[in-house]
Amino acid sequence: MPEIFINGHSIQAERGQSVLQAALAHGFYIPYFCWHPKLSVAGNCRICCVQVEGRSWVEIACNMPVAEGLRVLTDSDTVKAYRKSIMQLMTLNHPVDCGICDKAGECKLQDYHYKYNGAPSISRDAKVRSTKFHALSERIVLDNERCILCSRCVRFTSEISKSNALGIIQRGDASLVRAAEDRPLDADPYSDNIIDLCPVGALLSRPFLYKARVWYLKPTPSVCPGCARGCTVQIWHRKQEWKLNALDPRQNVSIERVTPLENPHVNGPWICNKGRDLAQIFERPRATQAMQKGKPVDLPSAIESARHLIESAGHPVALVSSWGSNEELGALKHALPGRFAAFTKHDWTPQPGERLDDDLLIRADKNPNTATACALFPRQDDGASAIAEDTDLVLVWGEGFDFVRIPVGAKIIFLNAYLQPENGHADVFIPISIQTERRGHYTNFQGVVSAFAPCFPKKASVADAETLFAAIAATESARA
């Protein structure tokens, strides 16, 4: 553990660390653009310069190994002057179009300008013009005028996602980030991470383009249900105080974007593109009306009918959702009468064209909570029919089950959140809430438990599965 001194304060650095890492770990902030804890050192932005005591020049901290007794200054006059010069050079050809840039508000260049420079440009020469709105892939547009060529995106695709999709062409101030000719960035399921990595507004999400200023949005911690990895994410939605009154009110309760929530135990700082597209899962048409044989009824009478069906059933079967939270699954286990045969089902199976699994994050099991569900209920055996011929009631919770497999004559109770044809075929259909409307936990395939919080209010006509199970499974005597 080498002892180094930052601005005269002694700190215990770890062997093999750079001065930048040691300083950040001990609360001394050194600015950086190109450096990233998960990527190799490029050392090209030069903003992380520090001064070794006794030397007249500056050196970059990201590539300076710690050594016993090393004394560095992070805020000497030389360092401050040099940082200021780097900020002048960074903004020399940068358009400074923050007013129309999606990155504004969470942009390193903007933050550092106010923190380390603050002065207008000293250049009176025309800026170098470059490509705007270059379609890097189906999902990402690139503004080369804003790009500061930190090469984070290039290093991400070569070191983390390993698609090697990006490179830099041309030289000097004409350098351009470009995708390889066969456009492999479209096939890279982790491509959108480069949008977060971009320290400026050069790489922009096409679905999010011009949709909202980030300061009108609020991130709610959540868990991606896309696969058994259970990456922690932030779901960004409009702040209540900035709700839109004039436009479509649905915009106030919609997912604007999804970003990773850094989590060293599960996903690190990354998520895959499926996690970015949670709106495609959660914003499908919702079922909000309880039904009996396709006829609308109110929620309490549907619950009452379901309870009667359960009480009168001789050989009931329950098919348990692997999208249920730990709390819901526990409630079902607690409430279900002993005569029920209960099985865990796969709500989601891999979609055509979807990456099955890889070494980074993506898992073949496309359900978030198979771990807890299987711990409480046996897995559905897909080979033989799990549903015996004499079954007279089937409780189906969640999507992904083909009603054809239910024996003729058996009654069906169906709990589902989305508008689907099967809803009307059930003897009792009860609409249930989705992840963005409630609180809960998922356990991922490694056994790591992650929490999600509600983003939007739940409709009164929709039930929460956790309380619903107690209500529909309770016997008359128990209620009395």
Partner: protein, 432 residues
């Protein structure tokens, strides 16, 4: 001064570059001596004793570079000759590649033996056509004669050599960019640490020497390090190949003993300034060294100590002579266009600074110069001083501030009057 020659020791003819003639001149004798009579350690010691400094521009002692590599530390080592001679005004390595390719090959074999290198490389710039063909033919001859491959000269020493052609980037002449280019990647310079002698080509310790530096090794082994030290000055021994161009009567490549009088070299060896004009300035060692005025060079001798005292350096030995009447504003424009074009764009000060300098000088030349432009150019040069990954930012800054320091009045005149104080051209027609 005797002006001893170590490299240009034979008359150049149509066939003087062939293996047969090279052997007739005693070629590959040094290799025989090294392999049969010396241990690798003795070869390194001999080179260290010679005190030879790098000829590529940085003047780093060759022995000290070699000493960092431990031949028996269990990993592979690589040797690379830097034949990416791209510094404007420099074409001295080209002379060796064209007329004495075997001298380089023999020296590289000796160096490979000393450092226990199995695979050596020559990185030659893409624009070199005849030099490449000569070098490739020489390598083929040498392989056929058994100087490369397994069991060289019947000993256990084995070495293979690959000639790698660059694609014409100036930055690829920088050692770390050069090896990155050999690895097949974009030719970006690398951050130090680690030094290339610790982790270089393919992440292994790599020694990269200039062609001229390496070519001296054969002479050092034949005649001994002490004999080499007798040539040149005490601190900077040996000879230098000087490529001289510009407004000079007899441009070309000359070998001079280090310490040779500067003025004598210009006036006598090279026949004086073109058309008998006065000397306005000389860029002594490639455009990245600071310009010297005609008056300044009078007392100087051609060695690093003397030139360093005058604020410049021997650099790569590419001299550019500038006659009276040449517009220095235009000259700086040419230099800055080059630096702007060749900046690799990796790190911020050089990527943005070179373009900025070029736009300012372009503006001055079309008569749109403004007060403060000269200060701005000084400032951008200072921002590049010692702050970039490789030395290119520094070099451009030296070139700019060097010319501004000595010819500032011409720039001020140009900005004020929107025209050159000279006739505005760079050409110097021969007086009739």
């Amino acid at each position: 001064m005797a002006n001893t020659k170590l490299l240009m020791t034979f008359p150049v003819t149509e066939t003087s570059h062939t293996l047969a003639e090279y052997r007739a001149r005693g070629g590959y004798g040094a290799l025989e001596k090294a392999l049969r009579q010396m241990t690798p350690q003795e070869v390194v010691a001999e080179v260290t004793a010679s005190g030879i400094q790098g000829r590529g521009g940085a003047a780093f002692p060759m022995g000290r570079k070699w000493a960092v590599v431990h031949p028996n530390d269990g990993q592979s080592h690589y040797l690379c000759a830097n034949a990416d001679e791209g510094e404007p005004g420099t074409f001295k390595d080209r002379w060796i590649l064209e007329y004495a390719p075997h001298l380089l090959l023999e020296s590289m074999l000796i160096a490979s033996y000393a450092l226990q290198v199995r695979n050596a490389f020559i990185y030659i710039r893409g624009e070199f056509d005849l030099p490449y063909r000569r070098l490739a033919a020489a390598l083929e001859e040498a392989y056929a004669a058994g100087y490369f491959g397994e069991r060289i000269l019947g000993t256990d020493f084995a070495c293979d050599l690959v000639i790698y052609r660059g694609a014409g980037s100036y930055v690829c002449g920088e050692a770390s960019a050069l090896i990155t280019s050999i690895e097949g990647k974009r030719g970006y310079p690398r951050n130090r640490p680690p030094r290339l002698t610790v982790r270089g080509l393919y992440q292994k310790p790599t020694v990269i020497n200039n062609v001229e530096t390496l070519s001296n090794v054969a002479w050092i082994i034949t005649n001994g390090g002490e004999a080499f030290k007798q040539v040149g000055t005490a601190k900077d021994p040996g000879t230098r190949l000087i490529s001289i161009s510009g407004h000079i009567e007899r441009p070309g490549v000359y070998e001079i003993e280090i310490g040779y009088p500067f003025a004598k070299f210009i006036d006598e060896d090279c026949g004086g300034i073109l058309g008998g004009r006065a000397l306005k300035g000389i860029i002594p060692g490639g455009i990245s060294t600071k310009v010297l005025t005609g008056k300044e060079i009078e007392p100087l001798t051609l060695d690093n100590q003397s030139l360093a005292a005058a604020g410049s350096s021997m650099g790569s030995g590419g001299m550019i002579v500038i006659a009276e009447g040449t517009c220095m504003v235009r000259l700086l424009q040419v230099l800055l266009r080059f630096y702007h074009h060749e900046s690799c764009g990796q790190c911020t000060p050089c990527r943005e600074g070179m373009g900025w300098l070029h736009r300012i000088i372009d503006r001055i030349v079309v008569g749109e110069g403004r007060a403060g432009d000269i200060e701005r150019m000084y400032q951008i040069s200072a921002w590049n001083d010692g702050t970039t990954i490789c030395g290119m930012g520094d070099a451009a800054g030296y070139a700019t501030s060097g010319i501004l320091n000595k010819f500032r009045d011409e720039f001020e005149y140009f900005i004020e009057h929107k025209r050159s104080r000279c006739n505005g051209t760079l050409e110097c027609p021969k007086s009739s």
